[in-house]
């Protein structure tokens, strides 16, 4: 009997049970989504999830000093532990623009697809499993993780992985969108900032003094000439550049923020070395203070498409009529793979960014969420069977 057989047989029941919780789950989406949770300030969301777990009878729900919220559902055997992790932080926006609109079949609001909906699913998961009478033999370690964005560099999840008292058999990372995504490979990420500033002794009043923009322009040009492989794929995104004050004043500071991605760790290291060389040369030739600050470094990695986690997830998506969308990701998966824990990323519903209104405004489907939750439960059941054959 395949590990997915039991799960596939009950998909419609899983979906119905998820839909039966719709008021509770969507209330959590709204409440969590309207709470501020900038990177490092996820405490309110963590406390909310802990309280929900407490009501559901999760005995070991706690918030750690990094604002991770962690809870354990003990398994009937308990010899293996499965992790379900959801990043909690989001970009910060003004409170008056943090509201979520509830329509007949959709939710609309800032970052509603990234990632409060998945966090609400995590908050409700113990109740959903209980209502389904799903008793896993594996322990289920639930984690809302902090500091996933920017300089956070997945610090929360790394802490959860390092501090876990239970060896992890596998892990599922949840994202609100898109239902159908199946990420089992993580691209390597090198995210950094190059700053160029005038040294204290710089004679900026001298005629012809160039400030910091010209050296930075040279750096940009040279980064653009770094050769990049197509297979394995590597890319460099120059995300933002800022500097200077006005038309005629010498720019004292200029900062370039970039992100390099690669499916190959070797290529990513080569890109880093190239950028370090560019920075060193710019420093030497311009007489300015030019520095490279590494914000994020993640090694690439991944599972084979034939790994049981991936195979089961594909079968479940197929049974739900959703062709799997397979691509490499830069999300939490990297931390899991670095820790040697096989894992995949799943999306819970469909959605889109409403670019025509506002770039932070997102719209997600309510009915597809029930399918996404059925998918999650089915994957947990299948992983449980794999862990206890």
């Amino acid at each position: 009997m395949r590990a997915t057989d039991h799960a596939l047989a009950h998909l419609s029941r899983f979906r119905a049970a998820a839909e039966a919780m719709r008021e509770r789950l969507l209330t959590d989406v709204v409440c969590l989504g309207e709470m501020p949770a900038p990177t490092g300030g996820e405490g309110r969301r963590a406390a909310y999830v802990r309280d929900r777990w407490c009501e559901a009878g999760v005995e070991q729900g706690a918030v750690d000093d990094l604002n991770n919220v962690v809870g354990l559902l003990p398994g009937e055997v308990g010899s293996a532990t499965v992790l379900v992790a959801v990043p909690m932080d989001t970009l910060d926006i003004a409170p008056e623009h943090r509201e979520i609109e509830v329509g007949v079949d959709r939710l609309v609001g800032p970052f509603v697809g990234d990632n409060c909906l998945a966090l609400a699913a995590l908050a409700c998961l113990p109740t959903l499993l209980d209502s389904l009478q799903v008793r896993l033999r594996s322990n289920l370690l639930l984690a809302g993780t902090s500091q996933s964005l920017s300089r956070g560099n997945l610090a929360g999840l790394r802490r959860v992985l390092a501090a876990s008292r239970w060896p992890l058999a596998c892990g599922f990372c949840l994202e609100s969108v898109q239902l159908g995504r199946l990420n089992y490979a993580a691209v390597g990420v090198f995210r950094g900032a190059i700053s160029c500033r005038l040294p204290p002794e710089y004679d900026w009043a001298q005629y012809g003094a160039s400030g910091t923009i010209l050296p930075m322009a040279d750096i940009v040009g040279r980064i653009g000439r770094i050769p990049l492989c197509q297979r394995p794929l590597s890319t460099i995104v120059l995300g933002s550049i800022e500097g200077g004050l006005s038309y005629h004043t010498i720019a004292r500071d200029t900062v370039l923020r970039f992100e390099a991605r690669s499916e190959s760790g070797e290529d990513l290291r080569r890109i880093r070395t190239a950028i370090e060389d560019i920075v060193a040369e710019a420093r030497a030739r311009s007489g300015k203070v030019v520095e490279l600050d590494t914000v994020t470094w993640r090694e690439p990695g991944g599972l084979d498409i034939g790994h049981p986690l991936v195979r089961n997830a594909r079968a479940i998506l197929g049974a739900l009529g959703r062709p799997p969308m397979i691509y490499s990701t830069t999300t939490q998966l990297a931390a899991l793979l670095e820790a040697g824990v096989p894992g995949i990323v799943l999306g819970l519903t469909t959605g889109r960014r409403r670019g025509e209104l506002d770039e932070v405004e997102e719209e997600v489907s309510i009915p597809d969420l029930w399918t996404g939750l059925a998918q999650l439960v089915a994957n947990l059941v299948a992983a449980d069977v794999e862990a206890h054959p």
């Binding site: 008021e23 509770r24 969507l26 209330t27 709204v30 409440c31 309207e34 003004a94 008056e96 623009h97 509201e99 979520i100 609109e101 509830v102 329509g103 007949v104």
Partner: protein
């Protein structure tokens, strides 16, 4: 011999005893116990007109938290004035009982206005306690409702509970419009200070969130327009005094800002009701009828265009005087 308490003393004493913060009632299980022991049913009513963007969230959150998780509310009722958007569809989807105001009590005819919806809600709602909240609240939370119901459940002497809050107006990106509660501070509070100083104790007399006992509400006339809140306060004060009222701090409410012309017309309607009550209760001797046309100057391309708005605050009689109502709810009372 001690001196009689001054007005200031009375107001301060009332503020001390009858002003609460919603957190006092956060133990909703306890409120559910009080409700059960008193054998009460509780309705939440949302009067609505074109609120599809906010009403779904309000009903979802309040039903989830105050009906499904803890059964404080027995029903959520939406009385719609005839929305042209999807307000009724959204409200019904999330579990409210939805009614068109014009289809309730057809024998009484139909008027347009929030007060009309509130009056007809008495006919339609089944609760012994009825809480009203506006349908345009963008940051609704359960405390908006349990905060209003708490004093009624705890103290049988309390008949009517009014909300107050810090009211940041809806903000446009990068620009904060100062103010909030302008009609209160520029019209209602000065009038109360002049004529009914007891009512100055109410921090936000115009707030659209309040709760009351059916036994009181059914005996109040309802202006159909802007004046309904002020009329309630003056009528309750006249019937039962400040003691029958309480107020609850709900922290913060985010709502839509209104243009100054709308606030001007709102003030006109409120002043009509205020003067009507001042005459009715003997504070003022009427010398001639009040005018019923509001004149404003509205900017246009050429400069300013004078505009006239006929605004007459029509009033519904106490619901208890309506025979259909008494039959529906088995109440005694007088015919209108």
């Amino acid at each position: 011999m001690t001196a009689a308490p001054t007005l200031d003393d009375r107001v301060r004493e009332w503020l001390r005893r009858r002003t609460f913060h919603h957190s006092r009632f956060a133990d909703v299980e306890r409120l559910v116990g009080l409700k059960r022991r008193q054998g009460l049913r509780i309705s939440l009513c949302l009067p609505a007109l074109n609120e599809e963007r906010t009403i779904g969230k309000e009903i979802l959150l309040l039903k989830s938290e105050l009906m499904l998780r803890r059964p404080l509310l027995d029903e959520i009722v939406v009385i719609d004035s005839g929305s042209s958007d999807r307000t009724r569809e959204v409200a019904a989807e999330w579990g409210a009982r939805v009614f068109l105001a014009s289809e309730i009590l057809p024998s009484a005819g139909a008027r347009r206005g929030k007060g009309e919806n509130l009056w007809k809600a008495l006919y339609q709602c089944e609760g012994d306690l009825i809480a009203f909240i506006d349908a345009d609240i963008r940051n609704v939370r359960p405390q908006f409702v349990y905060g209003l119901l708490g004093p009624l459940l705890e103290d049988p002497g309390v008949q009517y509970v009014k909300a107050f809050y810090d009211r940041p107006l809806e903000l446009t990106r990068g620009k904060r419009t100062p103010g909030g509660g302008r009609v209160t501070e520029l019209v209602v509070r000065p009038m109360f200070s002049l004529w009914v100083p007891d009512l100055t104790a109410l921090i936000q007399p115009l707030s659209g969130e309040y709760a009351g006992r059916r036994s009181l509400l059914e005996r109040l006339p309802f202006p159909v327009g802007y004046g309904v809140e002020v009329a309630h306060l003056m009528d309750i004060h006249h019937r039962a005094g400040l003691e029958a009222m309480a107020q609850v701090d709900l922290d913060q409410r985010i709502h839509r800002n209104q243009p100054i012309e709308s606030l001007g017309r709102m003030s006109f309607g409120i002043l009509q009701v205020l003067f009507d009550r001042l005459h009715r209760y003997g504070y003022l001797e009427p010398r001639r009828p009040l005018a019923t046309v509001m004149r404003q100057f509205l900017p246009d391309a050429e400069g300013y265009e004078p505009a006239e708005f006929p605004l007459e605050e029509e009033e519904r009689p106490p619901m208890i005087s309506v025979a259909d109502y008494r039959r529906r709810w088995g109440r005694g009372g007088e015919d209108s």
